[in-house]
Each structure stands twice: as C-alpha cells, then as structure tokens.
Symmetry: C2
Subunit: 353 residues, 2 copies
Amino acid sequence: MKLKLAILPGDGIGPEIIDQAMKVVKVVAAKFNHELEYEFALTGACAIDELGAPYPDSTHELCMNADAVLFGAIGDPKYDNNPKAPVRPEQGLLLMRKKLGLYANIRPVVTFPSLLHKSPLRRELIEGADFVAIRELTGGIYFGEKGRKDNGNTAFDVCEYTRMEVERILKLGYEYAMKRNKKLTVVDKANVLESSRLWREVAQEMAPTYPEVTTEYMFVDNAAMQIIQWPKNFDVMVTENMFGDILTDEASVITGSLGLSPSASIGIHTSVFEPIHGSYPQAAGKNIANPVATILSAAMMFEYAFNLMEEGAIIRKAVDASLDAKVVTVDISTEKPYSTSEVGDWIAEWVAK
Amino acid sequence: MKLKLAILPGDGIGPEIIDQAMKVVKVVAAKFNHELEYEFALTGACAIDELGAPYPDSTHELCMNADAVLFGAIGDPKYDNNPKAPVRPEQGLLLMRKKLGLYANIRPVVTFPSLLHKSPLRRELIEGADFVAIRELTGGIYFGEKGRKDNGNTAFDVCEYTRMEVERILKLGYEYAMKRNKKLTVVDKANVLESSRLWREVAQEMAPTYPEVTTEYMFVDNAAMQIIQWPKNFDVMVTENMFGDILTDEASVITGSLGLSPSASIGIHTSVFEPIHGSYPQAAGKNIANPVATILSAAMMFEYAFNLMEEGAIIRKAVDASLDAKVVTVDISTEKPYSTSEVGDWIAEWVAK
Ligand SMILES: CC(C)[C@H](C(=O)O)[C@@H](O)C(=O)O
Ligand SMILES: CC(C)[C@H](C(=O)O)[C@@H](O)C(=O)O
C-alpha cells in the first residue's frame, strides 16, 4: 500500500518526538512492504518566524494532498501573555482544523498497569479505566463570530452549532459505542445553553436509531466531577468543542500518562494524528521529552487513516514492551531514565526484530 | 444586632438541610444576643408547582428586603431531560442571580484531615490544600443573547463581558489574595476567545496596583489539569461564569467533602449563602442528607453578610467537633451513621453549651 504523509513537527519538543515516531513509521512500512512517501512542513511559531503565518498555504497544500498528517506540537512562550499579539501559533492550529475539516478529536483514555502510581487518583478508581472522549473540533465558540464593541470595552464570542454538525459528531459517537461497550454519554449544559439544547434534542432523536446503545445525558459540571470520581463508568463520551477542550485535558491527567496519550483528529479532507501534550518549550532540544504519545499517534494513524490494524498493533506491543523493560524517559522514571532518541531507537528496533 | 434573613429551602433535600442550619442560626443568635427575624419563601420546582414561576416576585421582594439569604437547593427530575420544557427550576436560580446582582460566587476549597480518605486523589496531593475559587456569576454565556435560526436548526449563545464586570470580579480576587497568600490565578482561554482576551487585558492593567500579589495566568484546559495534579499550588483562583461552573465543581470533588462544602454569592442588593451540592432528590424526605454544607454556609453568612467573625468561628468549631466525634451522616461514614436531624441537633447543642 502507498502511504502518503505530511509531517508537521511544529515547535518546542515537536521535532524531537516526531523524529522518533518517524523511525518507527519507517520500520513498520518496511516490515509490511508499504511504500512510504512523506514531506515535512512548518506550522506554529516556527512558521510565523520563517514564513509569516502559523499555518502557511504551502503547509495546507501538502496536508490536502496527504492521506494522513503526523503532527508534533505548537506554541512558544514568546507569544503567550500578550493578548494583543497580531498573530499567534494557536491560530495556525485552529486554521488547520477548519481548513482540513477536522471535525472530531478522538482521545482514548486508558491506563497502563505499570504507571498507575503516576496517577493523581487512587489506584482502585482508575485500574481498568478505559474510555474514549470525542470532542467536536470545528464548531462552537472557537469558530463563532467574535469581537469588541463599545470602544473595545465589551468583548463577545458567539457559540453556534448547526443540526448537521451535531448529527455528524453524535453519529461518530454512536458508531464508537457500538464497537465498544454500548454506552454513550452526551455532555452538555442544556439547563442553560440553547446550543446545548440543540445537542440534546438531536441526541434524543438519534438515540432510537441505536437501540443497543444506552444514551446517558450529563451536564458538563457534573461530568467534570464524574471523570475523577468514577472514571470507569464511561465508555464513549461526546461533547462540544469548548467543553471537550476542558474535559479531555482533565481526563488525560487521571491515567497518569500524559506523555503517553495520543489523539486522532478525523477530517473531511484528511486526518491528523498528534500527541495530546503541548510543545513543552522548557525541554526543547534536551533529548528528554517522552516520544511515546507521538509514537502511539502513529499507531492510531495506521489504524484510522489506512485501516492497517496489524501495523498499529505491533507499535502498541512495542510500546508495552518498552514500558515493561523500563526503557522510559525521565517523566516516567527518574531512576535510570533513557533519552528521547534512545526510547525511539528501542521501540523501532523492537518492531524491526 | 438585628439579623434579617430570607430563607429559601428549595427542592429535594433543601427543606431538611435548611432546618438544621436554622437550628444552628437560632442558637448562635441567642448566644450572642442578636435579634433574629426571618421569613420563608418558595423557589425552584416547588415554586413552579405552587406559584407558576421558579423565582416568584414575592420571593424576590423578600430577598431584596433581607440582609442575607440562606438557600437550600433546587431541581427536580421531572424537569430534566426535557429540552423543550417551557419553564425550568434552574431559570429561577439564574433569575435570582441576575435580579439580586449576585456577581461573585465564592467557594473555599479546604480539606478536613479526618476525611482525606474520601478524596479520589492521593492523600499527599491534597493534604493541606486550601484555596478559594471565585466564579463570576451574572455575566458571560449564561446571560448573553441566545436563540435559534434557520427554522430551529441552528442554535447560538453569546458570551459577552464588559470591562466593568471583569474589573469588579478581579478586584474581589485581588482583595482575597491580599488577605491570604498573595497569589491570584486568572483562568481564561485568551488564546482563543475575545472575551478572555479582555479578561487578561484588564488583569494585566490591574496587576501593578497590587504589587504584593503574584498574578498568574492559566488557560482553562490547563487549570482543569492543575486542579487535580497540584491543588496545593492555588491560593485564589478567579474565572468567568461558565469556566467557573466547571472548575469549581471539579475542585469540590478533590477534597472528598462535597457534602461539607459551602458557598457565598456576593451581591449588589443582598448576598446568598448555599451549599454547593444539589437537591439530591433520591434522598429527599429520608432524613439522611448531610446538613453540614448548609450549616457552614450559615457560618459564611455571619462572616460575610454581618462581619460577625466570632459567630462564624463557633459554628466551624462545632462542625469540626462533630467530625471528630464521628457524628456524621451516611455519606461520610456508613459504619454508624447519624440522621440529618441528629447531626443538626448535635451541632446546635455544641454551639449552645
Ligand atoms: C492551543 C489551543 C488553541 C488548543 C485548543 O484549545 O483547542 C489546545 O488546547 C488543544 O486542546 O488542542
Ligand atoms: C443549575 C445550574 C443552572 C447551575 C449553574 O450552572 O450555574 C449550577 O450548576 C450551579 O453551579 O450553581
């Protein structure tokens, strides 16, 4: 099979972790006889610095022509804390989501038995926790009209959803639930927001179409509590963009494995695979960042973008083996930590052997 | 001193827990020679049923003429899961907030040494955690324009903030920080939302006025992680309405003492004191609900509404004593649980003696 990839390392630790993932991708492609074609492009702060835009047209072109995009991370402290900066790396991310139509961000929330002690939650609460959080990614308050009135003294942002957008993401949620434990939790704030009432209306209309799935409705404030009280009660959770931003980050912490958590953003034109952690500028260039979230994002890429399940599975097995062998970076163990590239080499070699 | 109170028990367990708090309030008033004047009024589902509105004008009148309002909880399952219900109990709550100008909701997040094992977080992370979460309560997306377009197929909600609203709540945040450990965390989403950029702008302008306070800016998704990773790093946190709804509920869980957590809503016309938990309809009428959060809300009332610090302190001491003596409801200990009224009696008697 021919695999055409766009590679966007981004800022901070992005380039280092992408390097490791690419080592693994190359080994998998060779082992399974796939023809690998890939090209690198700039995005984020580095793209602003070199090309004047955080998601340049040339980068977009490349993504549009790729079967899948492997993405590192973006963000640079020099753009933070300046609410008046004319252009910010994050705008590149939002532009990419919009232009590629990346309407669904999918984050598996799973625990690794050997890492349970890293979780802030008590072991018995998270042992065996396993759910999927689906965040709508191209609608809501992120992309609604925004601006100032009254000489700049009033600021506003509009949260807007259409029935089509809600149906599309709920459908994905139901399909996931059908393949898993048949429970879908729809998170909204229907007791306050009109947009949430549309979400709940659409969900109530769709639910009978999936009689095997139990649909549960939960207010977002309650969900923020349930995630840390009873994480094992979730199977598939689906929610709108802003709530998803908050809840998926909260959920990522409970497993204790932020550095190991991948994500997939499913798009109309192509799909993007990226670790959920950020660009971690303090660690950039030090060869200490954990490459596993990016390597597992590559596993998701094989599975989601190409339906190559065996290829994804072998990467997962290699990662499990690296954890068992304690070949891990300093965020996982300070005892005898390995470097970013050592972990990448070890996993790539395990796959090759 | 004359204490003029409006008492709004609300729905579910509201009446039972308010009964206990009133026992304590009466004993405190007698002990310290205050003249107590109070009247009950309906709000929530019971007000819809009896008077056709969740926050009737008569109730509002009473609150406007009171020095402070003691509030139970509202909400009834028969109004949930019906996005098209013409009137809902929650509307009463929002109307009350707006009409009384309750612009700031204040929630102390503290741990009780004897309850650390009830927390979902590991003991060492929360032992000694002690911060105050301040939520803006009359602005933002809760109260912006909302509606449908396109034959009902598009729904929208507008999040809007004025400079005045932001200044008012940040000022409160800074004043709290000055009285505490001099750290203010301003939570926003300034990398995406225009309203958040106004928040950050105003905070950056005000910060130099409080040179002793360290101002920290944090994106809401990051805050959702930090609250469960490093709760001890917070001193005073301030944020907008919707983010505050989510984060304060998340924060309430980490102490393991949801049934013990009070809140104060500071208003222009009067202030409202209420437990942070809901109406818990499953427990209504069973004399099992925990009255302590409401009793501690009464303590906050003495302190905030009347500046009667000794009166507040004795209630807190009585609550601590009840916990030490294991005179607690079933949510705290299933071993030899006391009933709602037994706990109320015990605390009232402790104060009296
Ligand atoms: C950087 C920011 C714009 C972005 C978001 O809020 O979507 C990030 O937090 C994320 O979750 O990918
Ligand atoms: C009932 C609901 C409208 C309310 C809110 O969202 O403000 C509640 O969750 C709260 O936090 O007091």
